[in-house]
């Protein structure tokens, strides 16, 4: 989905536009559903510009590039962006979790071994902002471009460098940032579509997760050893 030749603003408009077409063209795992299902109410309207609650244009482009690198469009699913992952990230970071809910935030703060867990004063919203800045500064230093303007191959290499701790982000912990990114992107891909990602339950169709209502009492013996395959249903389908 991300194309280095497109200017960033046009690209952001296109993120919503191309979604359904790519899904219909590429998804063989869930073909019928992607084409015929009514759009989730959480999906952006195809063709309309995507409006974000908290992400800046630079941040949205970054998340989109990461989502499409981690979840590339292929025969199994549309790209991460087309699955709604960027919308998901935006809503999560704009909400209570992004604001530091259910986190102990009192100081003092000290650098610590990974086994002690997250030890920074930043909320997730602030942490992702800092991580995007640091990553873009790093790719600009090495290739003159922000992360989202790199080619698909270069983006893959950059993420691998972050993942393995080999990327030099100066004073910022790139590996910790990568783990947070991977978690958030996967949550967006696999959570209930009510949160703005996993459009049309695309990942649930992909793996064969039935979603709701999950009342299997009378099925557990019948399907022992047999694949239970149904059209997945989400929270919105029962609301």
């Amino acid at each position: 989905m991300t194309d280095e030749k497109l200017p960033r603003r046009r690209f952001l408009v296109g993120a919503g536009l191309a979604g359904t077409a790519v899904a219909a063209g590429l998804s063989s795992a869930a073909p019928a559903a992607a084409q015929s299902a009514a759009p989730e109410r959480s999906s952006p309207t195809p063709g309309a510009p995507v409006s974000y609650l908290t992400l800046s244009a630079t941040e949205a482009a970054f998340f989109s590039a990461v989502a499409d690198t981690m979840i590339p469009a292929d025969e199994l699913s549309p790209s991460g962006t087309d699955c709604g992952v960027v919308v998901f990230c935006d809503r999560q970071l704009a909400g209570a979790w992004g604001g530091g809910a259910k986190m102990y935030r009192n100081g003092p703060f000290r650098k610590a071994k990974p086994e002690y867990g997250y030890q920074l004063p930043l909320t997730p919203r602030e942490f992702f902002a800092a991580g995007i800045n640091a990553t873009n500064a790093w790719t600009r230093a090495s290739s003159g471009k922000d992360f989202d303007r790199l080619s698909a191959k270069e983006r893959g290499e950059a993420l691998k460098a972050l993942e393995s701790g080999k990327a030099d982000l100066g004073d910022f912990n790139g590996k910790e940032f990568f783990e947070a990114l991977l978690n958030l992107v996967m949550e967006g891909f696999f959570s209930d579509p009510i949160y703005g990602g996993n459009n049309d339950k695309v990942s649930w169709k992909m793996v064969g997760f039935p979603g709701l209502p999950a009342l299997y009492r009378n099925l557990v013996e019948e399907y022992r050893g047999k694949r239970y395959a149904v059209e997945p249903q989400s929270i919105a389908d029962f609301s």
Binding site: M103, Y104, R110, F190, S191, Y216, R224
Partner: protein, 591 residues
């Protein structure tokens, strides 16, 4: 100045399992009881209803039912020489929040501890000699035997409608149940849940290897059940969303369905939520507590609740910190080994296991419950000969499906990348075809594992946070290696296409990923006030009208989930209060 409320006969600090059981038994005996709960009230019919209850992000990732660490958390370090840092997000363990406590989001595994678990130091010394127990391993016998506690285990099972299969009925060993368990007076209240293909394959493999599989006992009622309170429980739906979530089917036992409807209707009981107890009022001279002080989090005001009996029924950490904040008892010191409060903190060896990948099987991993597992106890506790092995204790080895929620459950074979097209392909290929053998190992007490108050970090009330000093030991690593070999041997017998890499217990304890909410110790039971905080009736040695519930009283932790004995001990202690203490208030055991 705190507003002084009208005195009650007894006050509960925390309204989870133990506060609910104790309040029910004491009101039945005629006492006026106040139940204080720091969190909100919980209404299962609204909050655990379909469709919202089937939300992996909300409950498993954002931890909707879990204690807020900003309110109160603990600090952590691996060893006494280090400075501790706060656990800023809940991770390794997940205490509950609100009425019902952790029973709102538990999985329901309900065990009885083995007869040898109740007298582990004596048993190991008798069998292997005292040199088999390392000098720093501060394990202690429980203060009552299995046989003494059996009727109370039985009662708690009948409260919950536990699904399972007896392996030892009044001394008669029964194939298909756990033949290592202590004698039971009764069969489980409801039959075991149906197993998935995973349980069936495991059962066959371990039988061929000569082991003794049985269905995991769980408070997921396998059919509708009326409990000893006359309250109705529903049948488990095998929804695959059980742990960390509430239950819409009323099949997972908890105070809300098993006790609270009776308690709420009793005029002798009053429930007060948003009541955060900051300390107990203590008359050290008289060795009595006079009540509790709490902050109402809805108005910020402080209140004093005088009470004839105080019951600490919070989570493990809450019980310990309240003793320390109230200066009841002596803080344990790992150097001198004097003092008792905070001593013998133990955890569990969890997250161990091995994945297997098949190309010809469909497991439907989303279909199941915590009780859809087969288990062997052959390598647990002292059920096998430890001579020459260099460790004591053991692990249960289990196999089943029932938590295939896709944010958390995406097994892939070794060497698979974690993102990208190759990752996606592996997830799709293996979602239906992967199987996990899991281990849960015992964790025996160590002299240097303890809790005290942190010198730096504070909670929302301005009190010092509890500080945890804890790490794994040589015994843990050896136990993990040995039991993992057995698990891998079983895995191979199940003939997968690919075996995953064993997830062993190596290196330092990591407080980030979820392991188990099976923290124990810190206010341990015993027969000697020099080495324990409470006596055999869970009565404080330092205040005769103070009773301390829950797993904080366990001297060490076994491989099982702790809720079975937590419930049994609450019944046992309540009976001692009613039949002994009320007739003659004062110490029930003389040291």
């Amino acid at each position: 100045m705190a507003t002084r409320l009208k005195e009650v006969d007894a006050v509960m600090v925390g309204m989870g399992w133990t506060g609910s059981i104790m309040a029910r038994e004491l009101t039945k005996a005629g006492l006026v009881v106040a139940g204080l709960e720091r969190g909100p009230d919980v209404k299962p019919s609204e909050q655990f209803a379909l469709p919202a209850v089937r939300d992996e992000l909300r409950f498993s990732r954002r931890l909707d039912l879990i204690q807020d660490p900003q309110m109160e958390t603990l600090t952590f370090r691996h060893r006494p020489s280090e400075s501790a840092l706060p656990m800023r997000r809940m991770g390794s363990f997940l205490p509950g929040d609100g009425v019902g406590g952790a029973a709102n989001h538990w999985g329901g595994h309900t065990w009885r501890y083995l007869p040898t678990d109740h007298r582990v130091r004596t048993h190991l010394t008798d069998r292997y000699g005292s040199s088999a127990i390392p000098e720093d391993m501060t394990i202690q016998d429980w203060a009552m035997t299995y046989d003494e506690l059996e009727p109370y285990y039985d009662k708690f099972e009948k409260l919950c409608g536990v699904a399972g299969k007896a392996g030892n009925l009044r001394g008669q060993k029964i194939d298909g149940g756990n033949v290592f368990e202590g004698p039971r007076s009764n069969e489980y209240p409801t039959p075991p849940l149906h197993q998935n293909l995973s349980g069936v394959l495991f059962d066959k493999a371990v039988r061929e290897l000569g082991y003794h599989p049985f269905p995991r006992p769980a408070s997921n009622c396998s059919r509708p059940y009326v409990n000893i309170e006359g309250l109705s429980l529903g049948a488990c739906q095998y929804c695959g969303f059980c742990d960390k979530n509430g239950c819409e089917a009323n099949a997972k036992a908890g105070p809300h369905i098993c006790i609270l409807p009776k308690l709420r209707a009793d005029p002798k009981f009053s429930l007060r939520t948003n009541a955060w107890v900051s300390r107990l009022t203590y008359d050290k001279q008289a060795k009595r507590v006079t009540g509790v002080v709490f902050t109402d989090t809805r108005n910020g005001e402080e209140y004093e609740q005088p009470a004839g009996i105080v019951v600490l029924s919070a989570y493990v950490f809450g019980n310990i910190s309240l003793l320390l904040h109230s200066r009841i008892g002596e803080q344990y010191d790992p150097v001198t080994q004097k003092g008792t409060v905070g001593k013998n903190y133990c955890y569990q060896l969890s997250r161990m296991g091995v994945n297997m990948f098949f190309d010809d099987k469909y497991f439907n991993p989303f279909m199941g419950a915590p009780g859809t597992q087969m288990v062997i106890d052959d390598f647990n506790a002292d059920n096998f000969d430890h001579a020459g092995l260099g460790f004591v204790g053991g692990a249960i080895i289990a196999c089943g499906h029932g938590d295939g929620r896709p944010i958390g459950y995406r097994p892939t074979p070794p060497g698979t990348p974690r993102w990208g097209s190759a990752w996606k392909k592996a997830v799709v290929e293996n979602y239906q075809r992967a199987l996990n053998i899991s281990l849960s190992g015992s964790n025996y007490a160590n002299r240097y594992h303890y809790l005290d108050l942190d010198p730096t970090y504070r909670d929302q009330l301005g009190r010092p946070l509890l500080r945890l000093t804890y790490n794994f030991t040589e015994n843990d690593y050896k136990l993990s290696e040995y039991c993992m070999q057995k698990a891998v041997e079983i895995g191979r017998a199940m003939k997968p296409k690919v075996m995953g890499d064993p997830r062993l217990r190596r290196g330092d304890y990591d407080i980030v990923p979820y392991q188990s909410t099976h923290n124990t110790g810190g206010t341990v039971m015993g027969t000697d006030p020099k080495t324990s905080v409470v006596n055999r009736y869970l009565q404080s040695w330092d205040a005769s009208n103070l009773f301390i519930m829950g797993a904080s009283t366990f001297p060490q932790q076994v491989a099982y989930n702790p809720t079975g004995p937590v419930g049994a001990l609450a019944y046992w202690s309540s009976e001692a209060i009613i039949n002994k203490y009320l007739k003659n208030p004062g110490p029930l055991v003389h040291s």
